[in-house]
């Protein structure tokens, strides 16, 4: 069954496989580097950072809205889930926001949690507003997730409730607050920081954006192209089968039938995926996240995109047809057919160009330029950035921005130079 879980990891996450540092057979892998490989397997060519193997995570849940309002098909998602890692005494506290479609306990979140705990922070981890558990528990029934300013309001509301809960239930005492997030969560952090300037519930000391998109629209357009079922469905499907074929062949060649970190790397090495194949894996995993998101939205908002409208889904009902329908829906479709109409319902004059601007860091550019508490860390070869966007980030953040030459999208979050950089940012000014 360990095999099954290993396979789960390969197929279900296009993100890093850096699960268990202790099980690492070789400190570095000998895969040939590309930004896509780093995004899929992690930037394993660099040595892993020395972060704790495990920390005492308290898994928490909180009621945000009445349980009876949550659709039955999400019986396993009643109450919003998050986690707390607590220091023994009064300490600074950091909120971490997950990336698109990711939960508070995704692999990248776990790495970040350990790093910040190691640096003496209380750590509260929240799922992305695009994650099903967040969607079905959110009180928001007006805006579609991805609408950064409104997501920020939603998250801010949750953060206040969660902070009250950990004070009451776990006796957490915070000396100051910071916030960070990777990918979409990075963009969220920036919008939350801006909101907090006004509301002042936390008065963040530091804000760190990790591999954020500059423009949501540009980033999802790139990712949509990696898994293009519309232009040539047969080719994409055939390529997917081919990848699985190659992995199973390599597995059959392997002497032992067990899996560990080392054998997964060697499987990847021997499977020798082409750039197009790596992109397909990334795109497919992204599509899986968006399928989950769209289903949760459909169930909560009764939008009827991939489910029957006005139909209460039974908890034993087959959802296969919905999954199959969702596989076809790109983020572009979601933007055009869900986000735009919703925004126009509020204000009929809103255009697509308005939204593209609003859902980007450009919208809060002045704040990002002038606020000294905001930091950025990303990679020169991050796949979600369009040509010119790295330079844009550099110009906005200047000396508060750090751009690593390699790592793809979030591939280096648990690598030594990245974690060392976190320490430099967060040791400055923290007692």
């Amino acid at each position: 069954m360990r095999l099954l879980s290993a396979l789960l990891i390969i197929f279900l996450s296009a993100c890093s496989i850096q699960q268990d540092e202790a099980a690492l057979v070789k400190p570095v892998c000998d895969l040939s580097y590309s930004r896509y490989q780093a995004t899929v397997t992690g930037y394993c060519q660099e040595v892993a950072a020395d972060i704790p193997e495990s920390v005492a995570v308290i898994n928490k849940q909180i009621t945000i809205k009445p349980l009876k309002d949550i659709p039955d098909v999400f019986w396993f998602n009643k109450k919003m889930k998050y986690s707390l890692i607590k220091q023994e005494t009064t300490a600074p506290l950091i909120f971490i926001i997950a990336g698109t479609g990711a939960s508070y306990e995704s692999a990248k979140m776990l790495s970040l949690q350990k790093s910040f705990y190691q640096q003496g922070y209380h750590v509260i981890s929240l799922s992305s507003p695009t994650f099903a558990n967040f969607i079905v528990n959110s009180t928001n029934t007006t805006y579609m997730p991805g609408d950064l300013a409104h997501d920020a309001e939603d998250l801010y509301h949750v953060m206040n409730l969660v902070w009250a809960q950990v004070q009451a239930q776990d006796g957490v005492e915070a000396s100051s607050f910071s916030i960070t997030g990777y990918s979409l969560g990075g963009a969220h952090s920036a919008f939350i920081a801006l909101l907090d300037e006004e509301q002042q519930a936390f008065n963040f000391e530091k804000v760190l954006l990790i591999n954020p998109p500059v423009s949501l629209y540009n980033s999802v357009t790139i990712l949509d192209k990696y898994f293009d079922l519309r232009a040539n469905r047969q080719a994409a499907v055939a390529m997917f089968d081919e990848i699985i074929e190659r992995f199973s062949y390599q597995y059959s060649m392997q002497e032992s039938s067990t899996f560990d970190q080392g054998s997964i790397f060697s499987l990847f090495k021997n499977a020798n995926l082409t750039e197009a194949e790596l992109k397909l894996l990334i795109g497919a995993s992204f599509r899986m996240s968006s399928s989950d998101m769209i289903f949760a939205l459909d169930a909560s908002f009764n939008t009827g995109a991939i489910t029957y409208k006005h139909h209460v889904i039974d908890k034993f009902e087959s959802l296969t047809h919905s999954m199959q329908r969702a596989s076809d829906v790109t983020f572009g479709d979601y933007f055009d057919r869900a986000m735009l109409p919703r925004a126009q319902r509020q204000d009929p004059t809103t255009t697509k160009a308005d939204l593209i601007y609003r859902y980007s860091l450009h919208a809060i550019e002045d704040y990002l330029k002038t606020s000294k508490k905001i930091y950025l860390v990303t990679n020169q070869d991050d796949i979600i950035l369009k040509a010119g966007e790295v330079e844009y980030l550099q110009s906005i953040f200047a000396e508060r921005g750090k751009i690593f030459p390699r790592g793809g999208h979030c591939g280096n979050i648990d690598r030594v130079s990245f974690v060392e950089h976190l320490q430099t940012i967060f040791s400055r000014g923290v007692n």
Binding site: F11, V73, F131, Y308, H310, H311, L319, S322, R325
Partner: protein, 248 residues
């Protein structure tokens, strides 16, 4: 005993299977989803590669398993992990893995995989003697890799089709063929246990520990993915994974 009981449940479930349905019971005002399914079902590739004729039953069983796991099994496993030192846990795990080698050995012979059989035999001999009745896995350390062959794979090797997907009570994803194979492997396991000369109570205790150990070594948590499509994903993975294993 416990295993025989399990097998009885499997049979009972087979009868119940016909009774449940997973087809949506649509309200009169329900409107069909906006996004269409592709005309050609084959266009869905791996996503429609495996039919699920017993889906109604399977989904109910999946739900039951998730609940049983949350309220009964995981609390027991957590308690076990708390009171048992890591070294002891590892030894218990090694002990049961060692007993499983017998069935791996037989099944690799049945598939003419002589090198696998040889390696497994060497492992079993070493671990049963030097490894003190299997408590220590010395074989892996000196380079004899652990193999995995079961009767489901043997049947697959001989051309038996996997048959419909089947979610077993407590055990989770399986197929008609693999569930049948499980009965055979359990008989082998039972034979091995009989050799130990335990009485009924001790055997029952051993089955329980075996079960707890098996669950403890499996990191899977129901709905940790948070996805409403977890049932679909797991079905797909299981079917694909078994194909890969049989082809190996």
């Amino acid at each position: 005993m416990l295993k025989v009981f399990n097998q009885f449940i499997v049979l009972l479930c087979c009868f119940l299977m016909i009774a449940c349905s997973a087809v949506p019971q649509l309200e009169s005002n329900a409107i069909a989803p906006i996004v269409q399914l592709p005309d050609n079902h084959e266009d869905l590739g791996v996503m429609s590669a495996y039919t699920d004729p017993w889906e109604g039953f399977n989904r109910r069983m999946y739900y039951f398993n998730a609940k049983a796991d949350e309220y009964v099994i995981l609390p027991v496993v957590t308690g076990y992990q708390k009171i048992t030192p890591d070294v002891v846990q590892r030894s218990i795990n090694n002990f049961f893995s060692n007993l499983d080698e017998i069935s791996t050995f037989i099944n690799s012979l049945l598939q003419f995989k002589l090198s696998v059989a040889g390696e497994t035999l060497a492992r079993f001999t070493l671990n049963s003697t030097v490894g003190l009745a299997g408590l220590f896995d010395v074989a892996t350390q000196i380079g004899f890799a652990e193999q995995n062959e079961d009767f489901g794979q043997t049947l697959g090797y001989w051309g038996v089709d996997a048959g419909p997907y089947l979610v077993l009570p407590l055990l989770g994803p399986s197929s008609l063929r693999d569930a049948t194979g499980l009965v055979f492997d359990n008989l082998v396991f039972q034979q091995a246990v009989d050799e130990l000369g335990l009485d009924t109570d001790e055997e029952l205790l051993m089955s329980v520990i075996d079960g707890i150990d098996a669950r403890a070594s499996l990191p899977f948590r129901y709905y940790a993915s948070g996805s409403a499509f977890e049932y679909e994903h797991l079905k797909l993975l299981y079917k694909k994974y078994r194909e890969i294993q049989v082809a190996r």
